[in-house]
């Protein structure tokens, strides 16, 4: 199972990375794309949109299902990855390279409250039947 230790995670299977410029890059985890299967469509939030923590803000659609993606923390969308919207399969190829959008967090300290790799690994383990 691929859960990089330098990233933060949510219970709803997003990953987040605090960048040097203070923004937070967001995508869905390797585990999430594995559950969903072949991606066929990605809809990102508009740049400039203000998001509350946990707000539904993007959609990933696979051959199995459409799933909401939630904002890991509150903030403003400062970039959306158009390359991923054009080639959704990039998420299947490498979920951690295929980022979806970047946030400017309302409160940078919020990042610390997200799950670390160990806690996320335990969550995935506990969800497996």
């Amino acid at each position: 199972m691929s859960i990089p230790s330098d990233l933060k995670y949510t219970k709803s299977h997003e990953w987040a990375r605090l960048e040097a410029d203070g923004t937070v890059t967001v995508g869905i985890t390797h585990h999430a794309q594995e559950l969903l299967g072949d991606m066929v469509y990605v809809e990102n939030p508009a740049v400039g949109r203000q998001l509350a923590a946990g707000e539904e803000c993007a959609v990933v659609e696979s051959v199995k299902a459409a799933s909401d993606v939630y904002a890991p923390l509150a903030g403003e969308v400062v970039a959306a990855n158009e390359a991923v919207a054009d080639s959704p399969e990039a998420i299947n190829q490498d979920a951690y390279a295929a980022w979806m959008f970047k946030l400017k967090p309302a409160n940078p300290a919020d990042v610390a409250s997200l799950l670390d790799a160990a806690a996320y690994g335990a969550l995935v383990e506990s969800e497996a039947h």
Partner: protein, 481 residues
């Protein structure tokens, strides 16, 4: 082959009959089209053969066991259809006076009464023309109820994650924001999470019961109390009514709204994109908001209740009485079954599901909730098979086609990995169920011995494995010569 590929210039439907001269010469020239429409030019014989051949390539409930969970693909008696097709019904015009339509209005009124009886609700409107429209009507009534009390703060609809996917969609269509409630280990709604979620912002809770996990909620009473005490209303998604028909009534459980899918439970085929019918039932406090028209019996005469009688109604959902053909079929079916027959439907839908679940468990399959009794459907998870052999739920589903069975629902609900959702319905015999178990057992053996055989299935169908990813990514529905 597409019918367009059979097309030959100038070939006409009545090939042998002489062409009649065009008679519509009173249409102004500027309204006449100059070019022929791009339609296939084939003879009647070509068209008959083409579509008959297509139908032979298909799986259908008339030819195959169709255990598509969450869809109730049961046999719909031809007799109900025959009754609905009586010429007196077919010839009735929806705008004809009530005085000349007392018979058909009587059927609708009795159907309303029977649905009230079987759901335990105080009133029923037959007009919604699909399950989702029934849901929309239900959600709109909840909204109208809170609005009528000046309670504008109730903007949030609670939806358990084991609900039908239409539930959150309907809530959003009704102007609510959706809050998801998780499921506990046993497949019930997580009561602790529900308790923390309710508040003055709660408009209601939409419950699919039995849920998409194929289990009956154990804590209905507690849920009912939590939501009602918070001032919210309770919505019952009755799409899985087959499991409880005549046995338990959502009205008795304290629910305020229910929609029923006549096209699942009451004798109309389902899954072809319609026509459907999703009547709504309501508790006493929602009666003023029912969608119109509703049929009432007034001093010995049947008549339509309209906006005039019911000023607070949420309005009309269809031009007339909904899909009347479906309503008449449901009426014929309900009258044929009676109370005893309805109870038998629920008994055998449940018995068949539990028998199949027990036999598949014996055959070596993992059941998602083995500690729970199945309702009318249950979930098999193939996760351990996938880990061991690489054979997925999709592969097993495709291989079932080779064995002469329509596949169960795959990868739904999302809560269970590599799952098959299986619903046998009450209309299948023990012999059919045994043959289905034998087929799945064979596939399990194949998966262990020759996984490639299963992974590359189907092998005997008109087409091999289709590229569904390509189809979704590069959808192209236009035929080009």
């Amino acid at each position: 082959m597409l019918i367009f590929e059979l097309s030959r210039p100038g070939r006409k439907n009545p090939s042998q009959a002489p062409a009649a001269p065009a008679e519509a010469n009173d249409i102004p020239a500027h309204l006449l089209r100059r070019d022929k429409p791009l339609l296939p030019e084939v003879s009647e014989m070509d068209a008959v053969r083409h579509y008959t051949r297509l139908s032979q390539k298909n799986f259908s409930i008339d030819t195959h066991f169709y255990p598509l969970g969450s869809c109730t693909m049961k046999y719909n008696p031809r007799g109900s259809h025959q009754m609905a097709m009586l010429p007196q019904f077919l010839a009735r015009h929806p705008l004809a006076p009530e005085a000349t339509g007392q018979g058909v209005l009587a059927c609708f009124h009795e159907l309303q009464e029977m649905l009230k009886d079987v759901t335990g609700m105080a009133g029923v409107s037959l007009t919604p023309m699909a399950g989702a429209q029934g849901e929309f009507a239900g959600v709109a009534m909840i909204r109208a109820y809170h609005a009528s009390r000046g309670d504008a703060a109730r903007t949030e609809m609670l939806v358990p994650d084991a609900a039908h996917g239409t539930n959150p969609a309907s809530a959003v269509m009704g102007g609510f924001t959706v809050r998801e409630i998780p499921t506990d280990r046993d497949g019930n709604v997580d009561l602790a999470a529900l308790k923390t979620a309710v508040g003055p912002q709660t408009a209601g809770l939409m419950l699919t019961n039995p849920s998409t996990l194929g289990v009956f909620e154990k804590n209905i009473q507690a849920m009912q109390q939590i939501v009602h005490e918070a001032g919210g209303l309770l919505y019952y998604d009755g799409a899985n009514l087959n499991a409880i028909l005549g046995r338990v009534r959502p009205g008795d459980m304290g629910f305020d709204v229910i929609h029923v899918n006549l096209h699942k439970t009451f004798s109309t085929p389902h899954g072809g994109g319609g026509p459907g019918s999703g009547p709504v039932g309501v508790s006493e406090r929602l009666l003023p908001f029912l969608p119109v028209p509703v049929v009432t019996l007034d001093a010995g005469r049947y008549r339509l209740v309209t906006e005039h009688d019911l000023p607070q109604t949420i309005g009309r959902l269809s031009a007339f009485m909904g899909n009347t053909g479906i309503l008449l079929r449901a009426y014929a079916y309900a009258r044929t079954l009676g109370g005893e027959g309805m109870r038998r439907v629920a008994d055998f839908a449940t018995l068949n599901a539990n028998y199949l679940m027990a036999e598949l468990q014996k055959a070596g399959f993992d059941i998602a909730f083995p500690q729970r009794r199945a309702s009318h459907e249950f979930i098999v998870t193939l996760k351990s098979l996938k880990d061991k052999t690489g054979v997925s739920a999709m592969d097993v589903a495709k291989r079932l086609l080779d064995k002469g069975f329509h596949a169960p629902t795959t990868y739904f609900p999302m809560l269970v990995p590599e799952c098959l959702l299986i619903e046998p319905t009450e209309t299948e015999s023990k012999q059919t169920l045994d043959a289905f178990v034998a087929a799945l057992k064979e596939i399990l053996e194949e998966a262990l011995a020759t996984p490639e055989l299963v992974k590359s299935a189907p092998h005997t169908m008109p087409v091999r494995r289709l590229d569904d990813v390509k189809a979704a990514r590069e959808l192209d529905l236009t035929w080009k010569a």
